[in-house]
Symmetry: C2
Subunit: 293 residues, 2 copies
């Protein structure tokens, strides 16, 4: 693992569309662990300075994704304990600390998945939007409960197709719809369930754009709307103000429209009054009362 | 214009995704006029029977589209007056009657467009979904008023891209978004405006899927929501119960997902309580009271 490889992996975080916020946060920590072990440094203070700067760069690369900030912050606290250690011990200690944070994060996601599963009854139908690795884990534990799943394609990159394929391979009956059909299909579901990229201080949920429309339609049709994510997704007042990320218009693949402004904002905001409950590693925290839940 | 050509054109009505309901209804009448003039028939009763059956076939081919039913019904009433006429007079009379109905429909759309224009103020921003020929006509009359337009791509066939291009060529600043971004962009607009494929007896509007989500978001953000369509779009109790059309899943172009059910329902229903006003050839009929309109 040389310097160039690590620099390239740090740089790739900004452009990663493949992974959700939690997975990407863990990927950052894996990079951090490799950097701790292998990045050129003359002594422990130099190593600590490098690792701190890299962690800050990775956080700044995806400002919408609270878990990257939170997991790396947790790890950076551990770096304070390195001063006084010789370089090779410091390297090992920093790498182990990063791996430990990864494990805490994985354990939290597993707990969220378990609590999410408890909300889905035998032969129920769940509608979701975008691809959440936590939800995928939850659904994978539902095999055998005859659960039906409705999945949106999730423009622009259509990660919902990948989710549909994975769920179908697990044996679930899966229906794939365009995002625009959310309003039609929400009433066929017993519950709506999404992941989150971040949760703002007031409980507003940041998730793939279209989530807000699903939440509005779910409330209108009295379908419970659950947001499933571990507490590392919570933003706090130490973070910079939330600004939704905007990606390249090329992702819409519209061809030549030179005089048209093409917008590609990735996340929207779902306020707490549209959310039935949040599912965290602690359990199910109810926000609103519904007839059907 | 031979028999085969006319049969082929009638057959093509079912698969036409290019034209909206009003345009397609007028296209049906143009086919009807050509058929009246050229379709093989031994005498006037035989011609009348053929034209009646063709009109019925075209109506049945697009059951979601009330104007096809309404305009063809209006024309079929004229066919009753043909009995007793010689074949060549009957042919001319039936063709002229079809052309007259086309003109009535065009005049109604022009009136709707004029009333719609009256709702858009200088430097205002209008958000719309899908491509309505009536709205395109309305917008074309707004050149010079510095109006901004936000247009959705409108999956699956993305006719919104075509709309964006046409509006941009007219000189409007146009923003193109994915359907999923409707909830983010609705609050940037002063008003939302859509066309309609049909209006049900209770005032519920049938339009391109996604319209309902725009209407929900518009109400949530106190943005007035206008539906612009001529009264030929009104369904009445003589029509078969409304059933939304579903098109081929291939239109979603998702590639190989053999075990996933792909749905492609074209229309959704927007109930009157989400509609600020309907704009018809008669004028602007208010449904709900909004702060901002």
């Amino acid at each position: 693992m040389d310097k160039q490889t690590i620099d390239r992996r740090i740089h790739a975080i900004a452009g990663d569309r493949e992974h959700g916020a939690s997975e990407l946060a863990r990927r950052c920590l894996e990079i951090a662990a490799d950097s701790a072990l292998h990045y050129p440094a003359l002594d422990t203070p130099a190593l600590t300075a490098i690792l701190t700067a890299q962690a800050r760069d990775m956080s700044a690369a995806r400002p919408s994704m609270a878990p990257i900030h939170n997991l790396l912050s947790r790890w950076r606290k551990e770096l304070r304990g390195l001063s006084g250690l010789d370089l090779s011990t410091a390297r090992r200690r920093a790498a182990n600390a990063a791996k430990a944070v990864v494990m805490v994060s994985q354990a939290a996601c597993r707990q969220v998945a378990l609590h999410a599963q408890s909300l889905v009854g035998e032969r129920q139908c769940v509608i979701t939007h975008s691809l959440s690795s936590t939800l995928l884990q939850a659904f994978s534990g539902l095999q055998g409960r005859s659960v039906n799943l409705i999945v949106t394609e999730s423009r622009p990159l259509c990660e919902g197709r990948n989710l549909a394929l994975q769920l179908s391979e697990m044996g679930f009956p899966v229906t794939l719809i365009t995002d625009a059909q959310l309003g039609l299909f929400v009433e066929k579901a017993d519950l709506a369930m999404v992941g989150a990229d971040s949760v703002l201080e007031d409980g507003t949920v940041v998730n793939k754009v279209g989530t807000y429309l699903l939440a509005l339609a779910a409330r209108e049709r009295s379908v419970p709307f659950y947001v499933c994510c571990e507490s590392f997704k919570q933003r706090d007042s130490n973070m910079p103000p939330f600004e939704p990320e905007e990606m390249s218009p090329d992702e819409l693949n519209v061809g030549e429209l030179p005089t048209v402004e093409i917008r590609n904002i990735y996340f929207d905001l779902t306020p707490p009054e549209l959310i039935t409950a949040r599912v965290s590693e602690e359990g199910v925290i109810r926000y609103r009362l519904d007839k059907r839940c």
